[in-house]
Symmetry: C2
Subunit: 153 residues, 2 copies
DNA sequence: CTCGACAAGTGGACGAGATCGACCAGACCA
DNA sequence: TGGTCTGGTCGATCTCGTCCACTTGTCGAG
């Protein structure tokens, strides 16, 4: 993970479809060597995938909400996590240090869907209480911050 | 935005580097027509970009936290938003319906950086109070949920 | 010091993919 | 009926991806 790798990562983070040839021009190497580096970054788990970024509203997922989960004392976290994972509307799931030990980011088409989703989450064994906040607008999301510093491989 | 477009979007969402030729095979069209569709999806703002997914820990951003902001009555939201945007560590920023009217997702290398960041956010005019929660683990993040339904263009 | 092993790049060759223009078929409407 | 528009195919061409052989520099062992 040297400076060139960092540049490659930053470029691919900003535009995941940049060709190897273009990356090569940017970092001053040839395409095969860049490809070699990218392959290594993928194998080492630094680059874990590539995604098209979609406008949620444009595909009918107009409502974004954050759901906090307060567990009861008997909560089996493995089970909770598994059941949460089975719900496709939950796009992100964080395990937190606090009273609300999970926070979910969910997207649904309509308010009715959100209500059903909240009931579904609330019905999971070990979930004592949920707290839902609607997002009025997303100012920005998943903005890539540059690789901060030299990092061991 | 017909069924074929939905398939294309779902495929690119899962692997943003899928070639036009491969997409064409999957949806049963030729490469040029798929390319045409993708270009239109980009122009219509449905596909807004492509990103490599990076393991934050692997690049030295080992700490993820959620920061809620409670504003005071005189808060100028345009100004707050602008100042927040200038802070690179804030990867996502949601405007919420609730007492905490913003929630930030931030990533930093070390605890000291988080402390400095909290102070920086707390010092923004119009910010009455912040509430920070550390994430112990990210169960998953930005999992693409399939396009739900036929949607007008 | 020299040798061999290894990591990282280069250059060339070849097949696959991207891209462009020309052309075609069906839908819609005056 | 005929014109136009949309969305597709086909074929040509150029770029890109990918593989392989070769080179260079580094480092440790003998």
């Amino acid at each position: 993970m040297d400076e060139i790798d960092q540049t490659i990562v930053n470029l691919l983070r900003t535009d995941g479809r940049t060709s190897y040839a273009e990356l090569a021009r940017r970092v001053g190497l040839t395409a095969p060597s860049v490809q070699d580096r990218v392959t290594k970054l993928e194998k080492n788990g630094i680059i874990t995938g590539y995604k098209a970024v979609i406008d949620s509203e444009a595909i009918g997922l107009g409502i974004t909400a954050l759901i906090g989960i307060i567990p009861d004392n008997a909560a089996d976290h493995r089970d909770i996590c598994e059941r949460l994972r089975a719900i496709p509307e939950i796009e992100s799931c964080y395990f937190l240090a606090g009273v609300e030990c999970y926070q979910l980011k969910v997207r649904v088409p309509k308010m009715g869907d959100l209500e059903r989703l909240i009931h579904r989450v609330g019905a999971i064994p070990g979930v004592a209480q949920t707290r839902t906040t609607i997002t009025l607008s997303t100012k920005w999301e998943d903005r890539p911050q540059p690789v901060p510093f030299e990092q061991a491989d």
